[in-house]
C-alpha cells in the first residue's frame, strides 16, 4: 500500500512537471506556432531560475525568505522562457522563418546555453538543494492525514500551480473572447486577420506566455522532481511535454489526467520489482508509444474538434496570395 502511494505521488510530481510544458506548448500551438523549441526553452528557463536562486542565496548569505526563495526563481524562469518565445516569434512571425527549423535550432541553442549557465554556478549547487525544501514543502496537515494527506496535500507549490495554470488556460481558451481570438489565429490566420484580429500580436503574446509557462516545467523538474540536482536530462522532459500536447488533444484541463497517465508510465519501472536496467528504459518509451496510438485513433475517428489547429506550423503574411 505504501509503495503504491509513493508510486502515485511520484507519478503526480512528474506528471504535473510535464503538464507545465504541455500547457505552455498548447497555448503556443493554439496560436498556430508548432514550437519544437520547448525542450530548449525548459532548459533555459530552469537555468535562469537556478542562477537567480543562486544569486539570491549568496546575496543574503543563505538566509533566504521562503516566499522569495520560491518566487524569485519562478519569475526568473518565466522571463527566461518568455525570452526564448520572443526569439522564436521574431524569427517565425517577423522574419517568416520555417517554424520547425527555428524550433529545433532553439532546442539545440537552449540546451547549450543552459549548460553553459549552469557550469558557472555548478560550484554552488548546494544552493539549489537549500532552495529545494521550500519548493517541496507540502501543505499543512499533510503529515497527519495518512494516505489522504500523502496523496493530495503533500506536494510542493509548483504541482498545485501546474493544475491551476492548466484549468485557467482551459477557461481562457474556451470561455473568453481572448481565447476565441487566439484559437481563430491558430485555425485560420487569414480569417482572423480579416475579422480585425491582430495576428502578429496574438502570435507573439501566446508564444511568449506559452514558453514562459513551459519553462516553469523545467524549474519544477530540477527543484521538485530531481530534488535540487541539476541533471542534463531536462530536454527529454521537454520532448515528453510536446508528445503530451498531442495525447491531451490540445485541451489543458483534460491534460491533467493525461499528464498523470504519462507520469505513471514513465516512473512505473522504478516500482515494479525485479526488472533490470535495460527493461527500465523500455518502460520510459511507453508514453511515446501511447502518443502514437492516440494519434492513430484520433486520425481514424477524424473528429474535427480533436485535430490540431488547422494553421499549425504555417506562417502568415497578409499580402501573400
Amino acid at each position: 500500500m505504501t509503495t503504491f502511494i509513493t508510486f502515485l505521488v511520484s507519478t503526480v510530481r512528474l506528471g504535473m512537471t510535464l503538464l507545465f510544458g504541455a500547457t505552455g506548448e498548447a497555448i503556443t500551438e493554439k496560436s498556430g506556432h508548432l514550437n519544437l523549441g520547448i525542450p530548449g526553452t525548459m532548459c533555459v528557463g530552469a537555468a535562469c531560475g537556478c542562477v537567480a536562486e543562486s544569486i539570491y542565496f549568496t546575496s543574503v548569505n543563505g538566509r533566504m525568505i521562503p516566499v522569495l526563495a520560491v518566487l524569485i526563481p519562478i519569475i526568473a524562469t518565466f522571463i527566461g522562457g518568455a525570452l526564448m518565445g520572443l526569439i522564436y516569434s521574431f524569427f517565425t512571425v517577423t522574419l517568416r522563418a520555417n517554424q520547425n527549423v527555428t524550433g529545433l535550432v532553439l532546442t539545440t541553442f537552449g540546451i547549450g546555453i543552459s549548460n553553459y549557465m549552469i557550469a558557472q554556478v555548478k560550484a554552488e549547487a548546494y544552493t539549489f538543494a537549500a532552495a529545494r525544501k521550500y519548493f517541496t514543502a507540502g501543505l499543512p496537515f499533510s503529515k497527519n492525514l495518512g494516505w489522504f494527506g500523502e496523496l493530495f496535500l503533500s506536494y510542493g507549490v509548483m504541482i498545485y500551480l501546474a493544475i491551476a495554470v492548466a484549468i485557467l488556460t482551459s477557461i481562457v481558451l474556451n470561455k473568453t473572447r481572448l481565447g476565441l481570438h487566439l484559437r481563430a489565429v491558430g485555425e485560420n490566420p487569414a480569417t482572423a486577420d480579416a475579422a480585425g484580429i491582430n495576428v502578429t500580436a496574438y502570435r507573439y503574446g501566446a508564444t511568449c506566455i506559452g514558453c514562459g509557462i513551459a519553462a516553469l516545467g523545467g524549474i519544477t523538474f530540477v527543484m521538485d522532481y530531481l530534488g535540487g540536482n541539476w541533471e542534463y536530462v531536462i530536454d527529454s522532459i521537454g520532448w515528453l511535454s510536446v508528445a503530451l500536447v498531442i495525447f491531451m488533444a490540445w485541451r489543458p484541463s483534460f491534460g491533467i489526467l493525461c499528464a498523470i497517465v504519462f507520469g505513471a508510465f514513465y516512473v512505473a519501472s522504478s516500482y515494479i520489482p525485479g526488472i533490470n536496467l535495460q527493461t527500465k528504459e523500455l518502460f520510459k518509451m511507453l508514453p511515446y508509444l501511447v502518443t502514437i496510438v492516440v494519434l492513430v485513433v484520433t486520425s481514424i475517428r477524424d473528429r474535427k474538434e480533436d485535430q490540431p489547429p488547422a494553421g499549425l506550423g504555417l506562417n502568415y503574411y497578409r499580402e501573400e496570395r
Partner: protein, 612 residues
C-alpha cells in the same frame, strides 16, 4: 517595392553578422572573467550582452520593416486631418444626406512589384443601390475591393465614405467605417460554430456570451429572411449556408456597405435566387451593395448600375436598365467579340468509351450514381448538364479511376491496338499503363489538378516525369511546354517560375487545361473548365476543346451554362440525382427541354446529404 525588400534583406544579414560577432567577442572574455574572479557571476554580462544584441537587432529590423507602410499611413492621416481642419474652419460640418455617395474612390492606384493591379480608379456607390462590378479575370476587381475592405492599402488615391475621407489600413478600420466584405474564398473557421465565427474580432465592450450572440444572429436572420442555425459548426454546413454565415457576419457588425466577391460562383440557380432576394431586401433597407460576378444575366437581373473595369482601369459606370449584354461585353474586353462558338460536324464518330450500368454508393449509403449507361464517341463533344452535385464529379472520377464503382463496367476502345479494356476498379496508374489516356480537369483545380507551391514548369512535369529515362529530371521539354502554354493561352504571369498559387483563378485554369491537352489524350474530360473565367478566356478554352474534337478525341464536357452547352456540344447528356434523365441532340434541342430534364425525377438527394 522589390528594391525595398532587398534593402531589408541586407539589413537582416547585417544584424546577423553583428549578432554572431558579439557572441564571438564576449565568449572568450566571459571565460576569462569566470576563471579570474571566480564566482562573481561575470558570465551574466555576456549573456545579457547577447540578449541585448538580439533585442537591438529585432528592434532595428522591425523599424525597417514597418517604416515604409507607416510613413505612407502617416502622410495620408496628416492630409486628411488638414482637409478636416479646413472644413471645420469653413462652416459647420455637412450633415449626412442621401445625395452623398455611400462610397467614393478617387484616383486609386495599387501595384504589386512591377504589376499594376489598379490604375487611377474612380468609382462611386450610391446609398441603397446594388452596383455590379464587371471585368475580365485579373483586371483588378478583387484587389480594388480588398483595398476598401482593408486587406490591401492603396499606393495612391483617396477613399471617401459618406463624403468623409477614410483611411482604411486594416479590416478593423473597414468595420469601423461600416464596410463589410464577403470574400470569394470564405473566411470562416471550420471548427467554430456559426455564432463564434460571427462574433470573432468584435470588441464591443459587452460580456462574451454565446447565447446572447445566438439570439441576435437569429434576429438578423429573421429580418432579412435567412435560414441559419447559430450553433451549427461550419464544417457541417453546405456552401450556401457558409455564405449565409459570412453575410450575417458583416450585418452583425452593422455594415452599411456590403461587398460580395463572386458570391454566385458556388451556388445552384435556386440558391442564387434566394441570395438575390435577400440582397434586394437589404437594398430596400438602405444598405449599399457591390457585387462581383461574371455571369451576365445575373448582372442584368440584380444590379441597379454596372461599373466596368478593364486591365485595372475603370472604363465606365452605366445604368443597368440602359445597357445590354453585348454593350457590357464590349466595354469589358475593349473589342467586339462574336458570341458564337464555331461548332463543326463530328468527323467519323466511332465508339471510344462505353459506360454500362454503373452504380456507385458513397460511404453514407447514398446512391451517387444510379445505373448510368452511355457512349462517348471519338471526334465528338458530349456535354453533361445537371444541377451541381447530381453526380457529375463521381461520374468523371469513376472513369478516371479515382472513384469506386459498385456495379457495371466502363469499356474503352484503344484506338492504337483496337482492343477493348475495362477501366472499372483499376487505379489511375494502371489505367495509364494500359495505354488508356484520360486527361482530367477536376472541378477543384488547386486541390486535385495542380500543386500550388510548385511553379508552372514543375506542374507540367507532374504528367511527364515518368517518361524520363535518365537519372536526372528532364526540365527542358516541360519548360518548352510551359512557355508555349503561357504564349498560346495568354497566361498572365511574371514568368514560368512563378508558383501557380500566385496566379489568378482564370490563369490557373488555363495552365491546367493547357497541360491536360498537351498530353494528347484520346478521351478528354473537363469539369467546369470555365468556372470563374471571363468571357475571353472561356472562349479560348472552348476553342481548345473544339480543336481536340477535330483531332478525333472523345471530349466529355461538364458545364453549367446551358447556352454554352447547347452551342458547343454535339450531344447533351442530362443527369439528375445520379441518374441519366435524357440524352439529347444539342443541335435540335432547346434550353427549356434541357432545363426540364435537369429538374425531372430529382430524388431529394441533396437534402438527404445535408441532413446526414
Amino acid at each position: 517595392m522589390k528594391n525595398k525588400f532587398a534593402y531589408t534583406k541586407r539589413m537582416i544579414c547585417f544584424a546577423f553578422s553583428l549578432f554572431t560577432l558579439s557572441i564571438m567577442a564576449v565568449l572568450p572574455a566571459s571565460a576569462a572573467t569566470a576563471t579570474d574572479i571566480g564566482r562573481e557571476y561575470g558570465f551574466i554580462i555576456p549573456v545579457l550582452a547577447v540578449l541585448i544584441a538580439v533585442l537591438a537587432a529585432c528592434a532595428l529590423l522591425l523599424v525597417f520593416l514597418t517604416h515604409w507602410t507607416a510613413k505612407r499611413v502617416r502622410r495620408v492621416r496628416k492630409e486628411i486631418a488638414a482637409v478636416q481642419a479646413g472644413e471645420t474652419a469653413k462652416a459647420a460640418p455637412a450633415k449626412r444626406n442621401a445625395n452623398v455617395p455611400a462610397l467614393e474612390l478617387r484616383h486609386v492606384t495599387k501595384t504589386f512589384g512591377s504589376v499594376v493591379a489598379n490604375k487611377n480608379v474612380d468609382l462611386d456607390l450610391k446609398k441603397g443601390e446594388i452596383l455590379a462590378l464587371l471585368g475580365e479575370n485579373g483586371c483588378g476587381k478583387t484587389t480594388l475591393m480588398n483595398m476598401i475592405a482593408g486587406i490591401y492599402f492603396p499606393d495612391e488615391g483617396e477613399i471617401y465614405i459618406d463624403g468623409e475621407p477614410a483611411v482604411i489600413t486594416s479590416p478593423k478600420d473597414a468595420f469601423r467605417y461600416g464596410v463589410g466584405m464577403i470574400h470569394q474564398h470564405f473566411k470562416l473557421i471550420n471548427v467554430f460554430s456559426a455564432s463564434e465565427n460571427i462574433v470573432l474580432g468584435i470588441k464591443d465592450g459587452q460580456k462574451y456570451k454565446l447565447s446572447e450572440v445566438n439570439r441576435r444572429v437569429r434576429e438578423i436572420a429573421d429580418r432579412y429572411g435567412f435560414h441559419i442555425d447559430p450553433t451549427k459548426k461550419i464544417h457541417q454546413m453546405s456552401v450556401s449556408e457558409k455564405q449565409t454565415v459570412e453575410i450575417v457576419k458583416v450585418l452583425y457588425r452593422g455594415a452599411d456597405i456590403l461587398i460580395l466577391d463572386e458570391p454566385t460562383a458556388v451556388l445552384t440557380p435556386q440558391e442564387t435566387e434566394k441570395l438575390f432576394a435577400v440582397l434586394r431586401r437589404m437594398r430596400d433597407d438602405g444598405k449599399s451593395i457591390i457585387i462581383i460576378t461574371h455571369k451576365m444575366h445575373e448582372v442584368l437581373s440584380i444590379s441597379d448600375r454596372v461599373a466596368v473595369l478593364r486591365k485595372g482601369e475603370h472604363i465606365a459606370t452605366v445604368e443597368t436598365a440602359t445597357t445590354d449584354e453585348n454593350k457590357l461585353t464590349e466595354m469589358m474586353i475593349g473589342k467586339k467579340v462574336t458570341l458564337n462558338i464555331d461548332r463543326s460536324e463530328p468527323v467519323n464518330p466511332t465508339e471510344r468509351l462505353t459506360v454500362k450500368h454503373i452504380t456507385s454508393v458513397d460511404a453514407d449509403g447514398v446512391v451517387t450514381l444510379d445505373d448510368i449507361s452511355f457512349t462517348a464517341n471519338a471526334g465528338e463533344i458530349l456535354g453533361v448538364a445537371g444541377i451541381a452535385g447530381s453526380g457529375q464529379r463521381e461520374l468523371l472520377e469513376s472513369i478516371a479511376g479515382l472513384h469506386h464503382v459498385n456495379e457495371g463496367e466502363i469499356l474503352y476502345e484503344d484506338p492504337t491496338t483496337g482492343k477493348t479494356e475495362n477501366l472499372c476498379d483499376k487505379t489511375p496508374l494502371q489505367i495509364r499503363e494500359l495505354g488508356v489516356r484520360l486527361s482530367f480537369v477536376p472541378e477543384d483545380r488547386l486541390g486535385m489538378g495542380l500543386v500550388g507551391n510548385m511553379d508552372i514548369i514543375d506542374n507540367m512535369m507532374l504528367r511527364s516525369y515518368r517518361r524520363g529515362k535518365s537519372l536526372f529530371l528532364d526540365r527542358k521539354n516541360p519548360k518548352d511546354l510551359a512557355l508555349s502554354i503561357i504564349n498560346n493561352l495568354e497566361v498572365v504571369t511574371p514568368n514560368e517560375h512563378t508558383p501557380v498559387r500566385r496566379l489568378s483563378g482564370g490563369n490557373v485554369q488555363k495552365v491546367l487545361v493547357g497541360r491536360e491537352i498537351a498530353a494528347s489524350p484520346s478521351v478528354l474530360m473537363a469539369a467546369y473548365p470555365v468556372r470563374g473565367l471571363d468571357i475571353n478566356s472561356s472562349y479560348t478554352i472552348y476553342n481548345l476543346l473544339n480543336e481536340q474534337k477535330k483531332k478525333g478525341v472523345a471530349v466529355i464536357f461538364v458545364g453549367e451554362d446551358l447556352d454554352v452547352l447547347l452551342a458547343l456540344s454535339d450531344r447533351i447528356m442530362v443527369i439528375s440525382g445520379g441518374k441519366i434523365s435524357g440524352i439529347v441532340d444539342a443541335r435540335t434541342t432547346t434550353k427549356e427541354e434541357v432545363g426540364l430534364l435537369m429538374t425531372s425525377d430529382t430524388r431529394m438527394n441533396t437534402d438527404e446529404k445535408e441532413d446526414a
